[in-house]
Amino acid sequence: MNRRIAAVAIAGALLASCNGVQNVMGGDGAESANFIRLFTLFMVLCTIMYLIVVAALLAALWRRRRSGLTVDDRRHHQISPIVRPALIAWTALVVTGLTVLTVASFFIDRSNAATASKPAIHMTVTANQWWWDVEYNLPDVSKTLRTANEIHLPVNVPVHVTLKSNDVIHSFWIPNLAGKQDLIPGRLTDVLLLARKTGLYRGQCAEFCGVQHAQMALDVTVESKRDFERWYSAQLATAKPPATPLQRAGYRYFTTRECAACHNISGTPASGQVAPDLTHLASRRSIAAGALPMNKGNLYGWVADPQSQKPGNHMPTVGLEPNELHGLIAYLETLK
């Protein structure tokens, strides 16, 4: 038993040590808070059941020194009178406990479903191997916003997310806010996010979707309504034109060479649609769906050789000359 207690203590310590940007016990959204309530109830009842089983097992083994109803006494077919009432009690306990858990699960599930009644913001997240295409769909279509690998959410505002996939099955999962939902080609699924606390969180693809499944994360920012609106209008703006000669060289390369075939930068001729939108790339927290933190060095590494950074991803290594690379990075860094 000491080992078990030690295990529980270690478990507690481990739980406490996490910083919680991607944690099912985060409780930072309505559904996630419901999760904690239900999880706690299940843990308590299951722990009681477990302790009863282990205690009964130990008692049965402890008792072995006494004589038993065994073949050595030719009484191996007999059962002592206590077993039958014990069986009835055990069955009643198990069935009652499980019924309580089932009913609790139904009620929490209904409560989660009810949250979805009046969403204020609609967005669409489309999964691709291995990045997230994000679109905010406002009633005013001129304010439709497209970004990639990050979402911003206003706190305490229900957000309805339509989920699609362009290739294989993925799963959309921001554990601090809500449970996961699969994105399935040929089907539409959805999830409702109701964030309760501002902060920076992390989502991640939860269904194996190919070689870079591990590097398919999503940066999530929950902020006040004002901050959200500020962010939104900044994101709606088109990219600023390049200012220095180096930036202009990068701009020229981007818009006339390989990059523009796949990537879009609003306000420029680059309008590819099959890869992440880069209009405000430099304002994001990470590169390549959470594979690398956003900074100049990583941007260099990524653009110079994406295949060594995230092997198997669909961005080819172009083979840039040093001056082309310097120009591109200088330009990309202006995309705030």
């Binding site: 080992r3 191996h76 699960s105 099955i169 693809c205 190919g210």
Partner: protein, 647 residues
């Protein structure tokens, strides 16, 4: 001899076992009749269930070791964040091969191996029904396992996960032959499993010793019957699933292609309609081991035998109503989910009742803490955790968070290792003298038990925490700073301890084979019929077919087991009895050894493997397979002295 002379000639006396033919004279005749032909061809021709069962067990344990090595490599890669020991592509192959090997090539086959070996001994007959089908089953299984592993070694192993969801496994994303090899390996194993299941079902229903009514059947045999029926009902579903996938990939159908009005979710329904029962196909035989071990080491019968039987049957039925709990995140209607939540939680009731019966048996008896019983205790302590986390993830709101995380990885390893491998290791220790004639070392057995038990907890308990801290399964790396470093490091250390312990277990097996203490017929004082045979049993199992008068024949029979007489001794014959009450019914010829099941399996394997490369292989490959099958079933010329087989 013309017809008239033939009619006049006195009937030839066919020697039969009985009071006048008993003892060594009988044994010599039976050994000759039931022996294998000499040489390597004779070895390939064997239809003896003991040979086939042993081959199944040894092969499956080899695959366990191979799958375990893959697990160790994965644990090394995951021992620290952002590790680069194994690349992303290789890691996908590692977990696909690990899962596929463990589920298809280890867990189900090892259980069937033990069932093939033990069932005829436990029910008192000389061989399984359809012995050649059994031999065919083994060779097919071996070919499927070799296909997968040769492909892996040649770097064309599958990399799409062991449940191979399309479209990732479809023609557009799963390019090359990797997925075809996976899907065809599934075909091999399902043919093998179905063949063995049919053979076992018929054996149990028709070949029980006289007097062994259904209500007197050992619990392991009940578990075998239930799992065999489950295989018969669930395997066709995965056969259909993998067949449609191969057809999508090889001949351009669109069953799973949403762009052409196929449906990616169809696969998940078909696969899990098999995949969930499969878990119980692995687990129920393990509960059979537990029942036998608990009874023997408590020195009494299992308390409330009918409840255990009903629990087995109930689990077997409920297991078919749970598959959607693997699909809670796919956006199916919520009301429908509620049914599967209730069913998934309800399936723990029969298991809870079985656990009660085992503990009550230990309470009533005088338990002797030998190695097999230690594994049972380890099983209860470990498995119940897995069962309870299973109850948690049956609830939709909990599953939506925990699904596809390391919490699930922890859950199913608690259920499959705690619930099936622990009892399996106990069962191997328990029946080892029956398999080999020698006992396994007790000291090594105890050391490896404690190492496995404690190492397992260290390896898998922290995975719950990793899952709660947001680690999805099937990731080749994870970032630092999310609270994943410590749980992963502990898991990696624990896995090394488990590996060392399993190695010790294997060393113990190998060493005891040559140097172990010689075992008498019934070294543990067991009550069921297999302990009435020699260790290891003779080719013919029983000199006389035993007659059963209670659930524990060896404990109740006194000095001399009652036996039935009258089976031929110069031809292979088994006694068929009635399904319910096991009254003697018919004397039935049993198949002679034959090379043709092996040849058929080779022909079918060539057909299966070539069909990965061209659909024409199905047509052309069917010719040698048909020829081999015709030779296999070629009727024997009727004997001149044919007598009715009904006695």
């Amino acid at each position: 001899m013309n017809a008239a002379e033939k009619a006049k000639a006195p009937p030839i006396k066919v020697p039969r076992d009985g009071p006048r033919l008993t003892g060594d004279a009988l044994k010599a005749k039976l050994a000759k009749t039931w022996g294998n032909p000499p040489g390597f061809v004779g070895w390939l021709s064997s239809v003896d269930h003991k040979d086939i069962g042993r081959r199944y067990i040894v092969t499956a344990l080899t695959f366990l070791a191979l799958g375990g090595v893959l697990a160790l490599v994965m644990r090394l890669q995951l021992s620290k964040p952002d590790n680069d020991l194994v690349g992303a592509a290789r890691f996908s192959e590692l977990f696909t091969m690990h899962g596929t090997t463990m589920m298809f090539l280890f867990a189900v086959p090892v259980m069937q191996g033990l069932q093939i070996y033990l069932t005829p001994l436990m029910i008192g007959t000389r061989n399984t029904a359809f012995p050649r089908l059994n031999a065919f089953s083994y060779w097919t299984y071996l070919a499927g396992g070799c296909l997968l592993w040769v492909a892996f070694v040649l770097n064309i192993g599958p990399d799409i996960g062991w449940f191979a969801y399309p479209p990732l496994s479809g023609p557009q994303y799963g390019v090359g032959k990797r997925t075809d090899i996976w899907a065809q390996m599934v075909t091999f194993t399902e043919v093998a499993a179905l063949a063995a299941a049919v053979s076992l079902t018929a054996t149990i229903l028709k070949q029980r010793a006289p007097g062994m009514t259904l209500a007197r059947m050992p619990l392991f045999v009940w578990a075998t019957l239930v799992t065999s029926l489950m295989i018969i009902f669930s395997m066709p579903s995965v056969a259909l699933a993998s067949g449609l996938l191969l057809s999508d990939r090889l001949v351009g159908t669109h069953f799973y292609n949403p762009a052409e009005r196929g449906d990616a979710l169809l696969w998940q329904h078909l696969f899990w309609f098999f995949g969930h029962p499969e878990v119980y196909i692995i687990f129920l035989p393990a509960t059979g081991f537990v029942s036998e071990i608990v009874a023997t080491f408590s020195r009494r019968t299992i308390v409330h035998y009918p409840i255990v039987v009903l629990a087995l049957v109930g689990t077997g039925i409920l297991a078919f109503g749970l598959w959607v709990h693997h699909m809670f995140a796919t956006g199916l209607p919520r009301i429908g989910y509620s049914f599967y939540t209730a069913a998934s939680i309800a399936v723990s009731v029969p298991t809870g009742l079985q656990i009660f019966c085992w503990i009550a048996t230990l309470w009533e008896g005088r338990p002797r803490l030998d190695v097999p019983l230690l594994y049972v205790i380890g099983f209860i302590i470990t498995f119940v955790i897995g069962g309870l986390t299973g109850v948690m993830i049956a609830a939709v709101p909990l599953d939506l968070q925990l699904h596809d995380t390391y919490f699930i990885v922890a859950h199913f390893h608690y259920v499959l290792i705690g619930g099936a491998v622990f009892p399996l290791l106990g069962a191997i220790t328990y029946w080892y003298p029956k398999f080999t004639g020698t006992m396994m070392s007790d000291r090594f057995g105890k050391i490896s038990f404690w190492m496995i038990f404690l190492g397992f907890q260290l390896a898998f308990f922290p995975m719950h925490i990793a899952g709660i801290n947001g680690m999805p399964r099937r990731v080749y790396t994870y970032p630092a700073g999310m609270g994943l470093e410590l749980p992963n490091l502990l898991s990696s250390i624990g896995s090394m301890i488990v590996a060392a312990a399993v190695l010790l277990f294997v060393v113990n097996m190998v060493k005891s084979y040559s140097f172990g203490r010689k075992a008498e017929a019934n070294p543990w004082g067991g009550s069921s019929l297999e302990w009435d045979t020699a260790c290891p049993p003779e080719r013919y199992n029983f000199a006389h077919i035993p007659v059963v008068e209670s659930r524990t024949p060896l404990w109740d029979a006194g000095e001399k087991m009652p036996v039935a007489h009258g089976l031929r001794v110069e031809d292979r014959e088994v006694l068929l009895t009635t399904v319910m009450s096991a009254e003697p019914d018919v004397r039935e010829p049993s198949a002679e050894p034959s090379i043709w099941p092996f040849v058929s399996a080779v022909a079918v394997s060539i057909m299966f493997i070539c069909s990965i490369f061209s659909p024409w292989a199905v047509l052309i490959g069917a010719v040698p397979a048909t020829v081999a099958l015709i030779a296999w079933f070629w009727p024997k010329s009727p004997e001149p002295d044919a007598e009715p087989t009904i006695s």
